[in-house]
């Protein structure tokens, strides 16, 4: 058993960190925040040049064909740098394996996925938007809310409920009847939109596995969150070592030390949960969905708690606009709710581990126990 990055993955991580420390400094993040879309064509091109837009796209479609663990490695560094723009949305889209894979992999087109409606419920069962048939195509009428990056996406994948069940409809930018309005939100590095469909025509993806794709996107988000926690932890420890009060570094006060120690536990636990989920998805392990919910549930609470402690330990300065902590603090909140918050995922966990009938729970114990010593 080896629960550690391998050499290739470590190299990828190092490369990503160096690349982002050059390409996406906090000043750039702040500049992008203040734009309407938080999108920067040059940055996007640079990301595409790294191959990350096709990170999980099969090589046969021009991608890197990497696994979910590698995706998590890159996403962690993206989260550490608080990179704005449509990376996560595009990854989500590639996980749907649409016809557009080559172009997305090449960075030529950007994509996003529209799921939430009025109820803001991440349970796909709650989707009500009902397309009508128009020959081979679908016509969409209705509204999707909180759609990330909709205004920069060249193609938008709208999850709708047809008579045969969930269907993912691809809608091209500028399609007739499509209206995109900003929903200004706390985290300005990840812009959200209201997307209104008024008889918009689109084609359904073939064999799109929305559940699997959302799992992939959720794990990528968790990895971003881990990266954000690590940034806050590092910044806070650094500050605690240098900031003097009462004639000593504040990091020598137990009240500060113990909060830092808790931040370590939260960050490392979030990392364990996230990379395990990534590995389980890659392996198509039977408990993969459960692992994703464990990771997202934990990360949602942990990022917020780490961010809270980070600000508390920085004191007033951490609470200012000019300190970069605010970027992560807000990112923690937007990430907490994206793809379902901890309460949502705990209920999902309960549906796996509480609702099983006793014999199945017995199997679970054995299965888990078998996993336990890997």
């Amino acid at each position: 058993m080896d629960f550690d990055l391998n050499k290739m993955q470590r190299l990828l991580k190092e490369t990503a960190r160096q690349f982002l420390s050059r390409q996406c400094k906090p000043e750039r993040v702040r500049r992008l925040m203040e734009t309407d879309t938080a999108y920067d064509a040059a940055l996007w091109q640079a990301i595409a040049d790294q191959g990350w837009t096709g990170l999980i796209v099969p090589e046969s479609h021009g991608g890197l064909g990497a696994g979910i663990v590698e995706l998590a490695v890159v996403a962690e560094e993206m989260g550490r740098a608080c990179v704005p723009g449509p990376f996560l949305s595009t990854i989500f889209a590639t996980a749907l394996q649409p016809q557009h894979l080559e172009k997305i992999a090449a960075g030529e087109i950007k994509a996003t996925v529209a799921i939430l409606e009025q109820t803001a419920n991440w349970d796909l069962e709650s989707i009500r938007l009902k397309p009508s048939r128009d020959g081979e195509a679908f016509l969409l009428s209705g509204t999707k809310l909180f759609v990330p990056d909709a205004d920069v996406a060249d193609v938008l994948f709208c999850v709708a409920r047809s008579a045969d069940g969930l269907v993912v409809v691809a809608v091209e930018r500028g399609a007739a009847g499509l209206t995109i309005d900003p929903m200004r939100s706390m985290d300005e590095t990840r812009k959200l939109y209201r997307v209104t469909f008024d008889g918009v025509r689109g084609e359904a993806l073939r064999n799109a596995d929305i559940v699997s794709a959302m799992n992939v996107a959720t794990v990528a988000l968790c990895a971003e969150m881990v990266g954000g926690m690590q940034w806050i932890l590092d910044a806070t420890v650094e500050y605690a070592k240098t900031r003097q009060q009462f004639g000593r570094p504040i990091g020598s006060f137990q009240a500060v030390q113990h909060q830092c120690a808790d931040m370590v536990l939260l960050t490392e636990s979030a990392r364990s949960a996230t990379y395990y989920a990534a590995w389980a998805l890659t392996q198509n392990a039977p408990g993969a969905q459960l692992a994703v919910s464990v990771a997202k549930s934990y990360c949602s609470d942990a990022y917020r708690e780490v961010a809270n402690r980070g600000i508390q330990l920085h004191g007033g300065i951490g609470f200012t606009w000019e300190h970069d902590l605010q970027l992560y603090y807000k990112r923690a909140k937007s990430s907490e709710t994206l793809f379902g918050d901890s309460t949502f995922h705990r209920e999902r966990i309960a549906s796996f581990v509480v609702d099983e009938s006793p014999p199945a729970a017995g199997q679970l114990t054995n299965e888990r126990a078998a996993v336990a010593a890997r």
Binding site: L192, I311, F319, K330, T337
Partner: protein, 391 residues
């Protein structure tokens, strides 16, 4: 034990409410921008003038100084009724609750004559220049220097987290006047005219986007010796007197805002969806709302006990620290509960006027400003429990 108002407290409330009704100005609507900032200041100053003319300014001050000699309980009623009536906030609050009482306690006759009346009338606004970048929790590390030059001090240095500095006429400032003595013993408290050459103010933008605080820079600022409040090098004790007065404020006004906020959240929980039902009928949400309710209710009760205790003892103890610690952490928990219930809607700038987003962000500062939670816990441990000093 009698939790009803006494007849005289009831009369105080009735009188104030009766006065408030025709006198509270219409709410200021909309954001304060660089264009209308002067209008907003004028609006706030006018309100304070109205209070003064009605006899409701500096109500805690002794009558001989133009105050009303109100009891603590009456001060609490005053704060609460202001909030209940949606009255504008008091632009002169630092002068009224912090500077004025300190001048009354330690000022010269001339200082009293000169400074007290305009504080009451709202003609002169004060700010408090205590904190510095390197003197936060460790206030005694004040490093702004005041060097004697004839009958003046020449002040150089920087203050931070200074509320109202943009509009203030004067600043109650701590500066270091002795560089040899132990750090508590070389501090002097100065009454500084903010129009003195060499003072500049820079607003500090918070992560919530607004600028409640400022930095104040002193560059060769000349302050006459007559502007020392208390004695030279006794500024630490002057500051403690000032903070004692500030701590006696147990937050009765703010509770009205908490209550409103929670009522709004409960109302919202009836319209927000949770698995096809109103969130208000979701058992998990209900637990959270009930917890927020009971914590706020207990804040109210703790306040009433603290008011009783302070009224009887006369000297503020650690009650203020217990109150501050409780409400600041409670408010953060409640804002988080609001976010959980509202989901992504709670983060929007235009949902309920952005109040949940703003509340969540702004509240994060509660456990830092006016003494961090860590400092409050130290104070409770050392002053209430008598535990040995930790550093």
């Amino acid at each position: 034990m009698d939790l009803n108002l006494t007849p005289s407290e009831q009369k105080f409330r009735d009188d104030f409410r009766a006065w408030l009704k025709p006198n509270v100005p219409a709410l200021w609507v909309g954001a304060v921008t660089s264009e209308n900032r002067d209008d907003h200041n004028a609006y706030l100053r006018k309100w304070q003038r109205t209070l003064f003319e009605g006899g409701w300014a500096g109500i805690s001050w002794p009558k001989q100084y133009g105050g009303r000699g109100a009891t603590l309980m009456e001060q609490a009623i005053f704060q609460e009724d202001l909030a209940l009536a949606d009255a504008p906030h008091l632009i002169g609050t630092i002068g009224l609750s912090l500077v004025g009482p300190t001048i009354i306690a330690l000022g010269t006759e001339e200082q009293k004559r000169r400074y007290l009346p305009p504080i009451l009338a709202g003609d002169e606004i004060w700010c408090q220049g205590f904190s510095e970048p390197n003197a936060g929790s460790d206030l005694a590390s004040v490093g702004s220097k005041a060097i004697r030059d004839g009958e003046d001090f020449i002040v150089n240095g920087q203050k931070i987290w200074t509320s109202f500095a943009q509009m203030a006429d004067f600043c109650l400032s701590l500066v270091r006047t002795d560089f040899e003595s132990p750090k508590h013993k070389g501090i002097t408290c100065l009454l500084v005219d903010m129009r003195t050459p060499g003072i500049s103010v820079r607003p500090l933008r918070q992560m919530s986007g607004d600028s409640g605080f400022n930095e104040v820079f002193f560059s060769n600022v000349r302050v006459p010796l007559t502007q020392v409040l208390g004695q030279v090098n006794s500024g630490w004790s002057t500051a403690m007197t000032a903070l004692m007065n500030e701590r006696a404020n147990l937050g009765t006004g703010i509770q009205v805002l908490f209550k409103r906020n929670l009522s709004a959240l409960i109302a919202r929980s009836r319209t927000v969806d949770r698995n096809g039902q109103p969130a208000s009928s979701d058992p998990v949400v209900r637990q959270k709302l009930a917890q927020a309710y009971l914590e706020l209710e207990i804040l109210r009760l703790n306040t009433n006990r603290a008011l009783t205790s302070l009224s009887k003892s006369g000297t503020p103890g650690a009650e203020g620290s217990i109150q501050k610690l409780y409400w600041s952490e409670m408010n953060q928990r409640t804002q988080q509960i609001a976010q959980e219930i509202l989901g992504p809607y709670g983060q929007l700038s235009d949902f309920d006027n952005g109040s949940w987003q703003y509340g969540y962000l702004r509240t994060r500062g509660n456990t830092i400003e006016a003494g961090t939670s860590e400092i409050q816990r130290n104070i409770i441990a050392e002053r209430v429990l008598g535990l040995p000093k930790s550093y």
